[in-house]
């Protein structure tokens, strides 16, 4: 909701972002624009192979992929695989987010912890989760827990780092106000630190959500844990190119849905924030 309305840099007044009292209509416009964007992308993907920039055999046009997708969605096994993937993704993301936020706030709020863990965090973060695949298999085989291990490991860092930076962004005046009113450490976390870090956390969760999806599918792809990834692996080894793209498209669409959800949550929780209440007019 925008409350600070401003005129644009010269042209017609900037659309007062959703501030005209018709949020529903506004959101509708956003949805249409988003669909138009997706449509453009799909159109490009249709045209590129058609004009011969790349062979349609290896990069089938959208219409061909859509056909394959239609085949997929009528297959019971596809939905089972989708469910498996979503389960691994959601669980992993949840664990990573909770752990990342709790540890992040703890580490950031206690300077000693921050000082002593910094090097270890920097050391562990760049270790690719794909390098952990043997470890995961060793521990859990092709169980969903293998997927979870990789998903949690990868997305945890995304959240953690965002939280660390977000906590650092606390306005000193606001924090001093809280301290001077004798707010306890916990209350300061709850009422000052958390709201400040929230925009960062939201970005972190959005990053982590995509990374978790990527890792869930990668794990399934490489380890063979049940899910969309395993289906992609089969399609790949069978040279079923359109099917492969159909499945990849599904992962992309999942990403879009995840982001829609995150944006909805953000609109509710960050209504007070400059980024939600006001828009930069270019």
């Amino acid at each position: 909701m925008t409350l600070t309305e401003r005129t644009s840099g010269g042209g017609p007044p900037a659309a007062p972002a959703s501030g005209d009292g018709r949020p529903g209509r506004r959101r509708g416009a956003t949805a249409w624009l988003g669909l138009a964007g997706l449509g453009t992308l799909l159109a490009v993907m249709e045209i590129v192979p058609r004009v011969g920039l790349v062979s349609p055999k290896y990069f089938p046009p959208t219409s061909r992929v859509a056909q394959a997708l239609a085949g997929e969605v009528t297959d019971q096994a596809f939905w089972v695989a989708l469910g498996d993937t979503l389960k691994g993704w959601a669980l992993g993301l949840l664990i990573a987010t909770v752990a990342g936020v709790v540890l992040g706030v703890l580490i950031a709020a206690v300077p000693v912890l921050r000082e002593y863990t910094a090097s270890t965090i920097e050391f562990l973060r760049p270790i690719p989760s794909v390098a952990l695949i043997p470890l995961a298999v060793l521990l859990f085989g092709t169980d969903i827990r293998s997927t979870l291990l990789l998903v949690v490991y990868a997305s945890f860092w995304q959240v953690l780092v965002q939280v660390l930076y977000g906590v650092q962004d606390v306005d000193p005046v606001a924090d001093e106000t809280a301290r001077s009113y004798g707010l306890s450490a916990l209350a300061r976390v709850r009422y000052v630190l958390w709201p400040t870090a929230l925009p960062y956390v939201m970005t972190g969760v959005r990053l982590a959500a995509a990374v978790a999806l990527v890792l869930a599918i990668t794990a399934e792809l490489v380890i063979g844990a049940p899910g969309l990834g395993a289906r992609i692996a089969v399609a790949q080894t069978s040279n079923a190119v359109p099917d492969m793209y159909a499945l990849v498209t599904v992962t992309g669409l999942l990403g879009v849905l995840v982001n829609l959800g995150a944006r909805a949550v953000e609109r509710r929780t960050l209504a007070w924030h400059q980024s939600v209440r006001g828009e930069v007019a270019v």
């Binding site: 909701m1 409350l3 309305e5 401003r6 005129t7 010269g10 007062p16 005209d20 009292g21």
Partner: protein
């Protein structure tokens, strides 16, 4: 020069809908210095933002030299009430003052000269290389003033620019504004809560009613053009004027109708 015509501004904040300004009409001629007073929350900042092209009025219009204001017009400088947040925390004080000049395309030497002069004028010659957040509140506000002064604008809008400085500095800055005004012939609209200041500075004082806001009274300050802190403030006419303004503001705050504009309000 500056025409405000039937200006209305309604803020639409979800459930909360505030008619900050109902209907404002007044005119500033070129080179005038007009002070604006009114109760807290009556819409002075809102008005300044509309004039500055930063906010779109709900209805009515602002004309600057006959042209309708739709975005920030060139050659206008604004000193914001939230002085602390209007300074760029990543630029040093000197750079903060210099930035708009650079944008104006002035040569380096001239910029340096203006920056040094302006900072000296507000008594901050030695703070040039500090960051804004290393300064006290009053010093920050003076940096914002220096920035506007160095810019040498044609129109200067100031929103309670001296709120955070001590009495003595305030007096000096008041004289600085008048000196600048004489020197550059700039048109100034000056918001203040200090009634003495309004009377001391202005050629006219605009008194606003409380929200939803209309112009309650336009008062011409018939004091001689050369003013100084000691004599002007000692002048009985000064005392009479300030008492009048004070009464008007008191009445405005209590929401009493003003005899002089009660008719206008209906129009």
């Amino acid at each position: 020069m500056l025409d405000v015509r039937g200006l209305q501004k309604v803020y639409n904040g979800g459930a909360r809908q505030v008619e900050a300004i109902r209907d404002l009409t007044f005119t500033l001629s070129a080179g005038e210095l007009v002070c604006l007073v009114g109760p807290s929350g009556c819409g002075k900042t809102t008005l300044l933002k509309c004039i500055g092209g930063l906010l779109t009025p709900t209805s009515g219009e602002v004309l600057l030299q006959g042209r309708r204001v739709t975005g920030p017009p060139p050659g206008m400088a604004v000193v914001f009430q939230e002085y602390g947040r209007s300074l760029f925390p990543w630029l040093r004080v000197g750079e903060n003052v210099e930035l708009p000049l650079r944008q104006k395309g002035l040569p380096k030497a001239r910029r340096r000269e203006l920056v040094t002069e302006a900072l000296a004028a507000v008594g901050l010659a030695d703070a040039e290389s500090a960051y804004p957040w290393q300064l006290s509140g009053g010093m920050q506000q003076r940096v914002a003033i220096a920035r506007a002064v160095a810019f040498e604008p044609e129109v200067l809008l100031m929103d309670e620019p001296f709120a955070a400085v001590d009495a003595q500095t305030r007096a000096d800055l008041e004289d600085l504004v008048r000196a600048l005004w004489h020197k550059l012939g700039v048109t100034i609209l000056f918001v203040t809560h200090d009634i003495d200041e309004a009377v001391y500075l202005g050629q006219r004082v605009l008194i606003l009613s409380s929200s939803p806001t209309v112009v309650r009274e336009e008062l011409t300050i018939d004091l001689p053009d050369t003013r100084d802190q000691l004599h002007t403030r000692g002048d009985p006419r000064f005392t009479a004027l300030r008492t009048h303004v004070q009464e008007q503001i008191q009445a405005a705050k209590r929401g009493l109708p003003s005899p002089s504009t009660a008719g206008d309000e209906e129009a």
